[in-house]
């Protein structure tokens, strides 16, 4: 524990953010950036598949018929706001305010749950109205792209909860700070991917 205390003091003195204070933290953050770049490519493959199959509805429902503007707008607001609250959490972490940090993470998780709730509702309503992924190539691509993002968000929620738990038990240390920072990176990344889904899938879909 003495070691941990040292690193904290040193990093504060040198103006290095706590999550970068240990060599290990720095390596893990670098590795995580690389991971995100690969995840981006995974999404790029799903986006291109969607772009190719978008119009292949083979007589089934089209995006314009399915997409519900208030629904996906609410989802978008929830997720964008959660990215903001996640940023606030990091800000509070830098100030060493554990209670506020946990509170903002909790808000982030709640907004994430709202997002997932709306998405599930959307999926279920499509599937029960003859627009399941087995209906057409367009729907296969739609469910896979949007669903992969949703699965990422769900995993992010679980992950963030474990980080909250660790913060509650251990406080802000070099290790927990790194964990907060990394889950934050992940969360912002998912937000950016959603912006693309919003434009490529939903906006382009309803404009047609």
């Amino acid at each position: 524990m003495a070691v941990a205390q040292d690193t904290v003091e040193r990093s504060v003195r040198n103006g290095v953010p706590l999550e970068y204070a240990t060599a290990d933290g720095e390596l893990k953050i670098a590795g995580f950036w690389l991971f995100l770049s690969t995840d981006l490519l995974l999404f790029a493959c799903l986006f291109s598949t969607y772009a190719i199959l978008r119009t292949n509805t083979v007589g089934g429902p089209t995006g314009a018929q399915l997409f519900d503007i208030p629904g996906f707008t609410t989802e978008t607001f929830a997720l964008l706001t959660s990215s903001f609250t996640c940023g606030l959490a990091t800000h509070e972490m830098r100030r060493g305010n554990r209670a506020a940090l946990i509170a903002w993470l909790a808000v982030t998780v709640l907004l994430g749950l709202v997002f997932i709730g709306f998405e599930l509702d959307e999926f279920i309503s499509y599937a029960t109205h003859g627009a399941a992924m087995q209906r057409s190539a367009f729907l296969s691509a739609f469910f896979t792209l949007v669903g992969t993002h949703g699965a990422h968000v769900s995993l992010g929620i679980l992950w963030m909860l474990t980080v909250v738990y660790q913060l509650a038990v251990r406080g802000i240390t070099a290790v927990t700070a790194r964990k907060v920072f990394i889950v934050g990176l992940y969360w912002h990344f998912l937000d950016i991917v959603w912006v693309f889904i919003f434009t490529v899938v939903y906006l382009t879909g309803v404009l047609k």
Partner: protein
């Protein structure tokens, strides 16, 4: 719809074929023997503590090597079976269905479960030692990568006796690999095994990029890095930016198969060419993923055994990087016949041919490195030398295949088979065997026997030409790939017979190499200096095998070929009587059984998914989540080695 009865999910254990009963029996016998030996010698604890839970890159490297050699054996047996079936016209050794399964598992195993772990073995064995690091950036993740590869490989191999092997080729194109034509679990085995091991490969790529970029010894700038390390960097970059495309392709096909989606079903608006594109967006970079590390090994070997610095160091790493970038822009050359049109095909043809330029630069640099060098014809050097003519032919036929209009003629013929085996065997396998002989003393503390090694080398090299040269003309004569039988009277028989003889010769050579290993374990020349080849890079500055923590003191690097420079300097240092820096406690990661357990959960989940037993699949998945969670909550993950213990170890190794 043509669904062959042998392929239905109906029976769990594959029945009816004597070869498979043979496999069943040998698997049972081998497992029983392993269990017996471990129990008899009371080695279970040792196995668990020293190997299954290790996070030491050196041991992980050894495990990759052993697993890869085992897979080379399995893939080699497949090859021998195929060549036996093709030996004469109208052979009745293998049935069509069985032949399909064998070329599929041969290709899949050779690329993903032989070549990949073999390069990872070399990454692990050499990179941290070459850059003066104590381990990789993420040792725990490194262990996870290994166990995901291992259990992925087990999943695929299991298909042989349970459920039936995949049979739609190693490329697994839909619609052939879709539900319409292939209902059995075999394809699912392929998809899940590749997915599981693919996660491991991605993690390895990330691990080594961070290791190389962030953990080099002080003074070792990028341009002072050994060329093997450069090649690993290039290969790792390719891994992390190519594998996502494979992950996507396999996932979409799996969703089509298990959820009844229509990504690749023409009648429902799907587009099968999307799979082919995604597959080769990964597939072409993949061949460079496996061959670039071989290039790196050749650079080390040529320079060491010519007693010279590598010629054209800067152009060497630049060409590695150029090849990595170019390799993303050539994938369409695998299907010029798709009909993308002259403009698209021209672009990809020219890009493919352009790869020959940086490759040519490398070949000339190797030749110039040897020019006026004092060459020692050791076994690693023999493999490296033999690689050059091999790759020259493979490269030339590659340029022929890249000429789009002409490819309409060669496409999917035995000309192609000959070409890619020439580069995969002549490049990757020769490279990795060179690396194995070269680094063997570093791994185990004794050299492999050179005499047996030379026999193995010459037989393999001769066998190679005998086996594959006839395949070029056969391709031009119209023999297409994946054909299980051919009629007499086409003038194909003699060439096929010669080729099969060559395959057997290579098989014997492989056995000789195994004998070399076994013989040397008992009688091999011990390496007491740590520098048996008079090496140039930092791994040779350490005792063989290197202690657990690699470097007692992290070396300071002043130039390329750091160890060579140190050896030249050492005389001065001794005279000046300079004291070495005091030792510091060393921070090391603790062993963990969780990577292994995680692998087991992935295996269980994958197996459940293969058969559509969703309860089992869910169980595996939940297990994975729990393993990840328990790691997240684990804080006691590392420890310090005390100065006294380091001193004791170093003294025991004859160093101070």
């Amino acid at each position: 719809m043509p669904v062959s009865p042998a392929n239905l999910t109906g029976h769990f254990f594959v029945t009816g074929d004597p070869l498979i009963y043979g496999a069943d029996a040998s698997i049972l016998l081998a497992s029983a023997a392993v269990v017996f030996v471990l129990t008899y010698y009371k080695k279970w604890r040792w196995l668990w503590r020293e190997w299954l839970t290790t996070v030491d890159h050196k041991k992980i490297g050894v495990m990759y090597l052993m697993a890869a050699l085992l897979m080379l054996f399995r893939g080699g047996v497949d090859a021998i079976l195929m060549r036996t079936q093709l030996m004469l016209p109208n052979m009745k050794f293998l049935a069509a269905e069985h032949y399909n399964q064998i070329f599929t598992t041969h290709g899949t195993i050779m690329i993903l479960f032989m070549a990949m772990p073999l390069i990872f073995a070399m990454f692990n064995i050499a990179v941290p030692l070459q850059i003066g690091a104590r381990d990789v950036a993420f040792p725990y993740l490194n262990a996870i990568s290994f166990w995901l590869f291992f259990f992925g490989a087990m999943l695929l191999n299991l298909s042989f006796v349970i459920g039936g092997s995949p049979d739609a080729g190693w490329t697994s194109y839909p619609p052939l690999a879709g539900l319409g034509f292939d209902r059995g679990p075999g394809e699912n085995f392929y998809l899940l095994a590749l997915q599981v091991s693919g996660i491991g490969s991605m993690a390895t790529g990330i691990n080594f990029i961070v290791t190389i970029l962030k953990m080099r010894a002080p003074g070792m700038t990028l341009t002072k890095m050994p060329l093997f390390t450069w090649s690993v960097l290039a290969s790792s970059i390719l891994i992390i930016y190519a594998f996502p495309a494979l992950t996507a392709a396999l996932a979409l096909l799996l969703i089509d198969r298990v959820a009844g989606a229509h990504f690749f079903t023409m009648t429902q608006g799907g587009n099968a060419m999307m799979y082919v594109n995604l597959f080769w967006i990964w597939g072409h970079p993949e061949v460079y993923i496996v061959v670039l590390p071989a290039f790196g090994i050749f650079s080390e070997v040529f320079s060491t055994f010519s007693g010279k610095r590598i010629f054209g160091y800067t152009s060497m790493w630049l060409s590695l990087m150029t090849i990595s970038v170019l390799s993303y822009f050539v994938w369409v050359h695998h299907f010029f016949t798709m009909g993308a049109g002259p403009d698209v095909n021209s672009f990809f043809a020219v890009a493919s041919m352009a790869v020959a330029i940086p490759t040519g630069v490398k070949v000339f640099n190797w030749l110039f490195t040897m020019y006026r060098g004092r060459i020692r014809f050791t076994v690693p050097m023999l493999w490296a030398l033999a690689f050059i003519p091999n790759f020259a032919i493979g490269g030339a036929t590659g340029v022929m295949l890249a000429a789009a209009p002409a490819d309409y003629q060669y496409h999917n013929s035995y000309f192609l088979i000959a070409h890619f085996h020439q580069v995969l065997i002549g490049g990757v396998v020769y490279g990795m065997l060179a690396g194995m002989y070269y680094w063997w003393p570093k791994m185990f503390g004794f050299k492999l026997n050179e005499r047996l090694g030379r026999w193995g080398f010459w037989l393999f090299n001769i066998g190679f030409y005998v086996c594959f040269m006839p395949l070029y003309p056969l391709g031009l004569m119209g023999m297409t790939r994946r054909m299980y039988v051919y009629p007499a009277g086409l003038h194909w028989a003699l060439l096929n017979l010669i080729s099969t003889i060559g395959a057997y010769v290579m098989g014997i050579a492989f056995i000789l190499i195994v004998i070399d290993v076994l013989y040397s374990i008992v009688r091999g020349e011990r390496d007491v200096t740590g520098d048996p080849w008079n090496g140039r890079t930092l791994e040779w500055s350490l005792p063989s095998p290197a202690p657990h923590y690699n470097f007692a003191r992290i070396p300071a690097v002043a130039s390329r070929d750091a160890w060579w420079a140190m050896k030249e300097q050492r005389a001065d240092d001794l005279n000046s009587g300079r004291q070495p820096e005091p030792l510091q406690p060393i921070h090391m990661p603790k062993n963990s059984g969780r990577p292994f357990i995680l692998g087991v959960f992935f295996f269980v989940g994958g197996f459940g998914a293969v058969f559509g037993w969703y309860l089992l699949a869910a169980l595996g998945f939940v297990g994975v989540l729990f393993a990840l969670l328990s790691r997240a909550l684990e804080y006691d993950t590392d420890y310090y080695i005390s100065v006294e213990e380091i001193e004791r170890t170093e003294t025991a190794l004859g160093r101070s």
